[in-house]
Symmetry: C2
Subunit: 105 residues, 2 copies
């Protein structure tokens, strides 16, 4: 499903990643992090897809909440395991969504 | 592959979509639009993945080039066919990338 985001301006965090062969506990972690993100203040939705490349975009009402989410203890542990085991390469981009528009049949 | 983007600030266009059952010429169009985007001024990379949801993020050095790309004649035709045939729902978000960081093994 597409995220139901508020009217701009709001924030997007684009997380792009390539995985290693290792998959130990990856699916559980991904699901847990999504559940945990949803409980954070100012969280406004998430969109995710993976083929060779994985792209997860999370949406937030303010940038402070993004900083707090990055520093969440359980999330910090997931980031550490991500670097050690799951990901060969990733990039995080913190963005201000200035405008948006869409289409629905 | 992850896009090799310049140091921030730069722009990201997040295009999220749900497809219809119709697939006529979709793959050809997607490939052609990617080739054409790469020829535009200030284009800085593209990242794409599709499961149920499709996410394509294109990166740009300035916002004027995003406007020009949206108005490109061949791209306008693809947008029209997209609404008529390919997509049941989509959203476009134009974003200023304020900071980024990454990890590579």
């Amino acid at each position: 499903m597409l995220a139901k985001t508020p009217p701009p301006p709001y924030y997007a965090v684009i997380f792009t990643s390539l995985k290693t062969e290792g998959n130990t506990s990856y699916a559980e972690m991904a699901q847990r992090m999504e559940e945990l993100a949803k409980q954070q203040p100012s969280y406004s939705g998430i969109e995710s897809a993976r083929e060779e490349l994985g792209i997860t975009v999370s949406y937030w009402k303010d940038v402070e909440s993004i900083r707090n989410w990055k520093m969440n203890l359980e999330h910090l542990q997931a980031q550490k395991t991500g670097r050690e085991d799951w990901y060969s390469h990733y990039k995080v981009r913190v963005c201000l969504v200035e405008r948006d528009y869409g289409f629905e049949k």
